[in-house]
């Protein structure tokens, strides 16, 4: 039971903390810079860099770019209120243009917020303090597909599905399949350390990157070494993975590809309970049977989401498991996994429901099937080791359900990104009748997050596994990292002394 909800009530972090932080901009942002004559000067300088059609201060654009996929600004807009808008939107088409934009921002001490597809759910692309939204989508060229080393080098603003189509034409795939591929960008895959549906075999987006081109906050353009695995000094390229635009702008990346698999063998099984299903998943992973997907729904999701989208009325814990690649190998791996599953007495539902899940796996995201306003919802996904995961899941579930039972909160989850050592649980809360008053809604929303994240942190979980930190989880970063946090702050200060890069995100500028 979380005792201290009252102490955890959300307080606007900006006013409370900002002035005291080492990485807070020296005199705060130069808000005057964004008005009157200075604004015109900035505008004309930016225009010179990106060209008139690629700079906007148009009201409509500013409003559309005022929200990403974070529930709070969407709700705010829905209730007829405007979140903080950017002052300028620029769409550079090269690292050189990005560099010049950052130099201008440093001169005038104004924030720069990288924007890929704006599909992030954490408010990472919000212009919390105004400033320049740097939309990367014009940087959308594929530079090279190397069919010998199986790599692709592309600019960071390329759309995920468009990139995948181009690679597929060579019989290859980029094995990062997030549900957001249709809308997210390559840079947006890497900046928040995203994870895709087939990560269990192929790894997270960050595991697939060989090298990057990055523009540092002062405008310096650098390339990381040609390969990530070596012994030539520290692994600094990892700094940019998960920095969500606070350490610079990723402008290009070389990614590892794979051959399109000969087969994808999928099936569904039903366990009596979650505990046994988790143990079966653990055994499959630790014996390195290499499933490309294990998606395990908790009994509540089995009863609600699986029924709603896939049409199966089932009780228990529903698991979809898949093996891909060479037909013989995949069949063998599947047979071995099914032996393990069989030991737990799970019911084999056959191929059809597994294949149907694969086919419809993204249907959940299309309205009206998706979660949508006016409901309040959030994905409190987390990750930890196998020894802790079940306890963590129940602790979070209990804390959230008990604390917000007056709001008839629904808490559901599935376990979908499995590693040799642990698994991610994709937990979600849903409140179907949140307060109508937007201010109250913000407070309730943040209270739920406080309770959920407290349970996560107290039970050995990470505040996030793949959506990133953004603005939403910024305030938990200090607690997450404890003693290690000042190191990150020092790195931030060294790279971005004026604090122009995406302030307020990833815990920086608090």
């Amino acid at each position: 039971m979380v005792a201290s909800i009252e102490q955890l009530v959300y307080k606007p972090y900006y006013t409370e903390h900002r002035a005291n932080r080492v990485d807070a901009p020296a005199q705060g942002y130069n808000e005057d810079a964004m008005q009157g004559l200075q604004a015109e000067m900035i505008r004309s300088e930016l225009e010179e860099v990106v060209g008139t059609p690629h700079l906007s201060t148009d009201d409509t654009d500013l409003l559309v770019y005022a929200t990403d996929w974070f529930w709070l600004p969407q709700m705010w807009l829905d209730r007829g209120k405007t979140p903080k808008k950017p002052d300028f939107i620029v769409r550079p088409n090269s690292a050189e243009q990005v560099s010049k934009v950052l130099q201008i921002a440093n001169t005038y001490r104004i924030p720069v917020i990288p924007w890929g597809g704006g599909s992030g759910s954490q408010g990472g692309a919000l212009s919390t303090f105004g400033g320049i939204i740097l939309d990367t989508k014009r940087m959308n060229r594929i530079i090279e597909i190397d069919e010998r080393s199986l790599t692709v080098t592309a600019q960071a603003g390329i759309n995920g599905t468009q990139l995948e189509w181009a690679i597929n034409e060579r019989g290859l795939m980029l094995p990062h399949y997030p549900a957001s591929a249709n809308c997210a960008t390559l840079g947006g895959y890497l900046a928040p350390r995203g994870t895709g549906t087939i990560s269990t075999k192929y790894g997270k987006a960050e595991d697939l990157v060989l090298r990057m081109q990055v523009v540092l906050p002062d405008g310096h353009i650098l390339r990381t070494p040609i390969v990530p695995q070596h012994a030539a000094g520290p692994d600094f390229y990892r700094l940019f993975l998960g920095s969500e635009g606070t350490f610079g702008v990723i402008t290009e990346a070389t990614m590892q590809l794979d051959y399109l698999p000969e087969v994808r063998l999928l099936r569904a099984v039903l366990f009596d309970n979650l505990s046994e299903a988790l143990e079966a998943g653990r055994q499959i992973m630790t014996r390195r049977l290499e499933p490309f997907v294990i998606r395990l729904y908790d009994p509540r999701s089995t009863a609600s989401r699986v029924r709603k989208i896939l049409g199966y009325e089932l009780e228990g814990a529903y698991m979809v498991i898949g093996f891909d690649g060479d037909r013989d190998l995949a069949s063998l791996q599947e047979r071995k996994a099914m032996e393990i599953i069989g030991h737990f007495g799970a019911k084999d539902l056959g191929r059809e429901p597994g294949e149907s899940w694969w086919k419809h796996r993204y249907d959940f995201y299309y309205p009206p099937q998706s979660l949508k306003l006016p409901w309040m919802y959030g994905t409190t996904e987390t990750i930890t080791t196998y020894d802790k995961i079940e306890k963590l899941y129940y602790a979070e579930k209990r804390a959230v359900e008990e604390s917000f039972q007056d709001w008839d909160i629904d808490f559901i989850g599935h376990f979908s990104h499995w590693f040799h050592w642990g698994v991610m649980v994709y937990t979600r809360f849903i409140i179907k009748n949140p307060p109508e008053d937007p201010h109250e809604a913000v407070r309730l929303h943040n209270r739920v997050w406080n309770v959920a994240m407290t349970a996560v942190l107290e039970n050995g979980g990470m505040v996030n596994e793949h959506h990133g930190v953004g603005l939403k989880l910024s305030r938990f970063m200090r607690r997450q990292y404890g003693d290690a946090w000042p190191l990150l702050e020092r790195i931030k200060k060294a790279l971005d002394p004026n604090g122009i890069m995406n302030p307020g995100k990833v815990g920086f500028g608090l």
Binding site: D59, N182, Y366
Partner: protein
């Protein structure tokens, strides 16, 4: 229904990968989500209809990509047309839109003259020679008639120069659209037509889908609508139409609205293969993901967008290594022709190319 799509799409980003204007401009606002959010925000009093918002509203090409890729079939293009209708009803439509509408209302044609024909001879089979074909690319009609003759068939011409109603509907004048649509139906009836051949996916979409869905008018069941390309492909297959072997190396450009008539993808390619003696080169943006050129209302409302859309298709074609492009749709051909020289590309009408292969 239209409100529903605005509401559903305002925070949905799932068709971003195919949205043509978003792709060519890289502008978040000019995506289905951006436009829906703008309209939803106008409804909530956060934006007003003014030059800025209207520029966005009329930038959407109404080419159907978003809906073709929507798992839950959100009818956003229709919803946007409905918003434009509201704008028009409030007298806020931009001048270009008003002028275009007056033309469509007065003459029934956007590009030239509507020929009012009296059909003295009845004909079971007719060819729809609409506005674009008749006024902008008449070669396609001549070629189609030659090809029909070569199939030992003759067909009356119906709707010469007539707008099918799509443009008026798309810019927000459903009453005029209905009038244009019905005029086409009436002419087909006058000619006692039982089967109407259409040259483009635009006509097919308008008559069979847009009419009932957006205008509440239904194409009469006793006049069978047939895609001309599919008709020809069948005639070649069954030996009715015998052509000389063609040779060439061109890229095939799927026309605007191609995604709204996906059953044409294969027949049209078999025709292109006949013309070239080999399969055509394929664009990246092809078949299910085929982007439009600037042949919809954007050519009037946002010529900048229209040009950029067309240039993007030509760049895509150029990247295939082809020296020429092949397409069947008069409206698309006209747009491609405007800028093709900049890319060193020749533009060839598919039906004309087929007609040139008719055995003497």
């Amino acid at each position: 229904m239209s409100q529903e799509a605005i509401s559903n799409c305002r925070y949905c980003l799932m068709c971003r990968h195919v949205a043509p204007v978003g792709h060519i401009t890289s502008n978040e606002t000019l995506t289905p989500h951006g436009i829906a959010l703008m309209v939803a925000s106008q409804r909530r009093g956060l934006l007003k209809w003014n030059t800025s918002t209207l520029r966005v509203l009329y930038a959407e090409p109404d080419a159907g990509l978003c809906r073709a890729h929507c798992v839950t079939d959100q009818r956003l293009p229709a919803a946007i047309a409905a918003v434009r209708a509201e704008i028009a009803a409030r007298g806020l439509a931009p001048d270009t839109v008003v002028r275009l509408h007056h033309r469509l209302l007065r003459t029934g044609s956007a590009f030239g003259e509507r020929v009012h024909q009296t059909h003295t001879h009845t004909s079971e089979l007719a060819l729809f020679a609409g506005d674009e074909a008749h006024n902008l690319w008449p070669e396609s009609i001549t070629a189609a008639r030659l090809l029909l003759e070569a199939c030992s068939t003759s067909a009356a011409l119906v709707g010469a120069g007539a707008s099918n109603g799509y443009l008026a509907c798309s810019i927000g004048f459903p009453a005029t659209a209905r009038k244009n649509f019905r005029a086409c139906v009436e002419e087909a009836r006058d000619a006692s037509v039982t089967q109407l051949l259409v040259l483009s996916p635009a006509d097919l979409f308008t008559f069979r889908q847009m009419g009932p869905e957006r205008l509440g008018v239904i194409w009469p069941a006793d006049i069978v609508l047939t895609d001309f390309a599919t008709f020809l492909a069948r005639r070649i297959q069954d030996g009715t139409l015998q052509l000389r072997a063609g040779a060439g190396d061109a890229a095939y450009v799927d026309p605007t609205h191609a995604v709204r008539a996906s059953e044409r993808f294969n027949p049209i390619r078999s025709l292109a293969t006949t013309v070239l003696g080999q399969a055509p080169r394929e664009l990246f943006w092809r078949r299910e993901r085929a982007h439009p050129v600037g042949s919809t209302a954007v050519q009037f409302t946002r010529p900048d967008i229209a040009e950029a859309l067309t240039r993007a298709r030509l760049e895509d074609a150029k990247a295939t290594g082809a020296g020429s492009v092949l397409c069947e749709d008069p409206a698309t051909l006209v747009q491609l022709t405007r800028f093709a020289p900049d890319y060193g590309l020749k533009v060839q009408g598919l039906f004309e190319a087929l007609a040139a292969l008719i055995r003497p």
